[in-house]
């Protein structure tokens, strides 16, 4: 399936981007953290909908929001995250339509086959490559982050698990803060491994 070409769309200039950051922050100064958080949620939304290039689609969504902010001056009638979601729905629809067109052309050229089951198709070579990439990506993290992610996922799953509670106590964190840190590190590791495998 071809990648939805989103790069041709409007890109915000520096001033427009700063306006977007300020609008997302809603009066606080998160130094871009809020933008990254929303971007991450949008990328996962697109990924769960089987979109190719979910990060590009999240970029496109936020670019369109920035553009709308430029046109209207301000958007006060709806919360920023909610507005981003509304915009994301339009971007998703366009991406799906685009994929459908691509697929119908491709289907005429060859029969469609589902991917094989994930438990079966992972060759040992592929698995070794993934493990090598994981090692590299882990080694690029700080020792504290490495220890945290390994200890966290070594514990029984669920934020209420005794192991994770003990880990949170040891680190002086709440269970929620620990969970946030763990999935942030995991998300970064997953992205790093994906890039490594694509090389």
């Amino acid at each position: 399936m071809a990648k939805f070409d989103v790069k041709r769309h409007w890109q915000p200039n520096e001033a427009a981007f700063q306006r977007l950051l300020a609008w997302l922050d809603e009066g606080t100064d998160s130094e871009g953290a809020r933008y990254l958080d929303i971007h991450d949620r949008l990328a996962h939304y697109f990924a769960r909908r089987n979109c190719f290039a979910p990060h590009d689609l999240a970029d496109e969504t936020l670019n369109r929001v920035a553009r709308r902010l430029e046109e209207r001056g301000s958007i006060d009638d709806v919360e920023p995250a909610h507005y981003c979601y509304i915009m994301a729905k339009f971007v998703l629809l366009e991406a799906l339509r685009h994929s459908e067109r691509q697929r119908s052309v491709a289907d005429e050229l060859r029969g469609t086959e589902p991917l094989e089951t994930a438990r079966e198709d992972d060759s040992s070579e592929e698995r070794e490559r993934t493990m090598a990439c994981l090692e590299r990506c882990l080694s690029a993290r700080s020792p504290a982050e490495r220890a945290l992610i390994l200890d966290y996922y070594r514990s029984e799953s669920g934020t209420a698990s005794a192991g994770r509670k003990r880990l949170a106590d040891r680190l002086g964190l709440t269970a929620n803060s620990l969970a946030i840190r763990a999935w942030r590190i995991r998300s970064r590791l997953e992205a790093c491994v994906r890039q490594c495998l694509e090389q």
Partner: protein, 280 residues
């Protein structure tokens, strides 16, 4: 707002909820930070269970079905499968924050130690003599144990065959040009055990790099480096030195992909060095 059970969220992730409910949860996944986190936790736990090969229940069966058409889930499963064995061998070096319990314990030990010292002062001389004898005995036992260990080490060294020193063939490769068809011929002695490549890059230190040796004919990577730090060569130029086992090289064409690693761990391909290995 209705609080959804974990089972509901699993059904949502597997696309098994009615469209209106799916729409509501889609919205919350973007607009509600806590919900988004909970969803990711459940998704990661589900994927981890699948990757560990746990017996199929309805959720894992659903994941198996959905992952067939989802590159996103396939990647997550591949990642989880790589992470799973790593958890068994991982390090445990998390710094401990001092807790109230441990502070109480330390205080208790201190009080007990003071009491012991006081009792010691009140003891008669023969107790001290007995302690001194005990110390001497302990020292003798420790010395004997150390001698035994040294003897064992000596035996191991004597029984280990002496390995020949590695024979290293070294080559320097100039910064790559646009055309990767221009290749550098590397004549490698057959006796060489390792091939050291000094890759010139037009970048200042410090940078961390990864190198991958690719066989373009077979379309696969035959060797990868670990993290390599560049050495300064001249202003604006660095040398990335990698050592490849000679055994991985056959007489054919290879391409070395050199990537720079940024602080977030992301890799950026900065050069491709085409080489042709000739064994002599």
């Amino acid at each position: 707002m209705t609080e959804h059970s974990n089972d509901d969220l699993v059904r949502y992730l597997l696309g098994d909820l009615p469209p209106d409910e799916t729409e509501r949860l889609d919205e919350r996944s973007v607009t509600d930070g806590e919900f988004s986190l909970r969803l990711r936790e459940i998704e990661n736990d589900l994927v981890d269970r699948y990757a560990r090969g746990e017996p199929f229940d309805a959720a894992l069966q659903g994941l198996d079905r959905v992952s067939r058409t989802s590159p996103y889930l396939k990647h997550k499963i591949g990642f989880a499968r790589a992470l799973s064995p790593r958890l068994a061998t991982g390090e445990r070096t998390v710094a401990r924050a001092p807790s109230a319990t441990s502070n109480r314990f330390v205080r208790w030990v201190a009080v007990a130690a003071m009491a012991a010292i006081t009792v010691g002062y009140l003891s008669v001389r023969n107790v001290r003599l007995r302690e001194a004898l005990t110390t001497v005995e302990a020292g003798r036992v420790a010395t004997e144990r150390a001698n035994a260990e040294l003897r064992q080490q000596l035996e191991r060294v004597r029984s280990t065959p002496v390995l020949p020193a590695p024979l290293i063939a070294t080559f320097q490769l100039t910064p790559p040009r646009r055309d990767v068809r221009t290749e550098t011929i590397m004549t490698i002695p057959r006796a060489a055990t390792e091939v050291r490549l000094q890759l010139q890059v037009e970048l200042d230190v410090p940078n961390v790099f990864w190198a991958a040796l690719r066989d373009p004919g077979a379309g696969r990577i035959v060797w990868r480096s670990g993290d390599v730090t560049a050495e300064a060569a001249s202003p604006g130029n660095s040398l990335v030195v990698v050592t490849i086992p000679a055994s991985v090289l056959a007489p054919r064409r290879y391409v070395i992909d050199l990537s720079r690693i940024d602080r977030s761990g992301s890799a950026e391909l900065i050069g491709q060095y085409a080489i042709r290995a000739v064994l002599e």
